[in-house]
Symmetry: C2
Subunit: 307 residues, 2 copies
């Protein structure tokens, strides 16, 4: 039987007198194997990943586990509580300040503790992101472990040219830790299908690693994108999306959505597909109140995708 220990990382005491604790669950298997880390909630607004981790630990049978799991279900607790992308106390984006700084701003101090108390111990790392309060997203990054990224089971994958500075992945990649970044779910729609897929995806990665027993599910037909554009509105108001099929194809110039003013009743902005043949990676599945600059749509370029 695997043993489970809860050993949160203490970051510091806050002005409210409460301690800022970063939760870590360690589950030790009965046989030797790698250390697999799973994190969610680096961006607190991306709460679907947190739910995936919660339900994964409550529903998946871990008997027969090899090695150990290190699970950080909510990497930025105050951001999670505030449903915000950054840390409310210092307004910093945790996933832009790695490897952090022991003497830096609070978010930099958190990043430093996450590196030293969590990331450094790993052989494999899966980081769960989602689309935030209003957008829904669905793809998996290929960083340095294509087989594992494919094993998660999403249809769209993305092979970026470079790893973004300051991300947790920039640290694990530098340490040669096999790393997967999942973008799944979010938005003002029922998350249960995304949560189920997330649990199945994590399980399939662990089976692919032979860390958990059981048959590996082969991935579906997958497309590897090499180019994704993020379209952000220049005006806030009510975003009325016109493409609401995740992974659907869109044509050049096709209207993706419109920002309208519920005050003046004017149309403020029309957002269109910039590629001849695009695929919907992130969209709004429901009309949403938006501010300028949010993640409106993300469109992959099928012309430059890998066959």
């Amino acid at each position: 039987m695997p043993t489970r220990i809860y050993r949160p990382i203490h970051v510091g005491t806050l002005a409210s007198g409460t301690g800022l604790l970063l939760p870590v669950h360690e589950i030790k298997g009965d046989r030797p194997g790698p250390t697999v880390g799973i994190s969610a909630g680096i961006h607190g607004e991306e709460a679907t990943g947190v739910e995936i981790v919660y339900r994964f630990l409550h529903t998946v049978e871990l008997n027969g586990l090899a090695g150990r799991l290190l699970v950080m279900p909510v990497a930025n607790p105050f951001s999670y509580a505030a449903v915000s992308r950054g840390t409310p106390i210092d307004m910093m984006n945790l996933n832009r300040v790695f490897p952090g700084n022991a003497g830096g701003h609070l978010t930099e101090q958190m990043a430093h503790k996450i590196v030293e108390g969590f990331l450094r111990s790993l052989d494999v790392y899966v980081d769960l992101h989602s689309g935030g309060s209003t957008p829904t997203v669905d793809y998996v990054y290929i960083i340095n472990a294509e087989e594992l990224s494919r094993a998660f089971g999403s249809r769209l994958l993305y092979r970026p040219k470079e790893t973004l500075n300051g991300t947790s992945i920039s640290v694990t990649r530098g340490l040669n830790i096999r790393s997967v970044v999942v973008e799944l779910g979010g938005g003002r729609v029922d998350q249960s299908a995304y949560v189920s897929r997330g649990i199945a995806g994590l399980l399939n990665i662990l089976r692919t690693l032979d860390v958990l027993p059981g048959p590996v599910s082969p991935p579906p037909a997958q497309v590897v994108l090499r180019e994704i554009v993020t379209l952000r509105p220049h005006h806030g108001g009510l975003l009325l999306p016109e493409v609401t099929e995740m992974g659907g194809e869109v044509r050049g110039g096709q209207v993706l959505g419109r920002v309208v003013s519920p005050y003046s009743m004017e149309e403020l902005e029309v957002i269109r597909c910039p590629f001849e043949r695009g695929v919907v990676v992130l969209t709004h599945l429901a009309p949403s109140v938006v501010e300028p600059g949010i993640y409106g749509f993300m469109i992959g370029n099928l012309a430059t995708a890998e066959a």
Copy 2:
């Protein structure tokens, strides 16, 4: 007589239906001369710079002005209104995202508009910062215009090895615009002396440039620091400062302040001077409620300072 035009830069419409306007005042002189830009409130929490600009425009006689002044009194209005360092809507630090991005997050869109509508037009640029809600600061950066930095009249100057990426100065320096960054005032103390010094400093820079008539005041004895360390607490609570003389000397190991818990009554942290001979560049002049990671103290190293 100089003419004055208010021509704010329109960034976009927000979800609240209000327009986000960045204020710009243009004051045209009667004779030819350079365009001098003054900005404040890039960090909204640093409100003393905003007051300096307000009072400067209301009290300084601008007859005889050569060239023109372009004044942006509040570069980040929502940050100013929220008394926060970052933009509340997207939690980004405006002074880390320059030159911005026309299709980026809202703060990146703002930076882009500031570059195109303000910074690019300048021959000389003065950016006013201060210490925020709780700390007080007092020094001037030497970027690429030492005579102008000295002319502001502060006793402490700082010659950094590099210009921080993403700052407004990184843009103006790249454009060979003579640039001065002032750090003055802030904290929970009467700001009137800092405001008066700010007005006098701006006036003296303009006289040094021969943009305004009148005698130039020679600077006081000045020290040019080449090394400043920022000391941030690791715990929040009540910060009890023990050095409250701006520009005063401190010895190695000397206690600068203590963070205590008003809950448990314990002492949580002692912050000490790391240099054998230090000088106080930023401190807390009054006991303050603080979170971990804030600007606690900044100490210059006198051992490596320029004579």
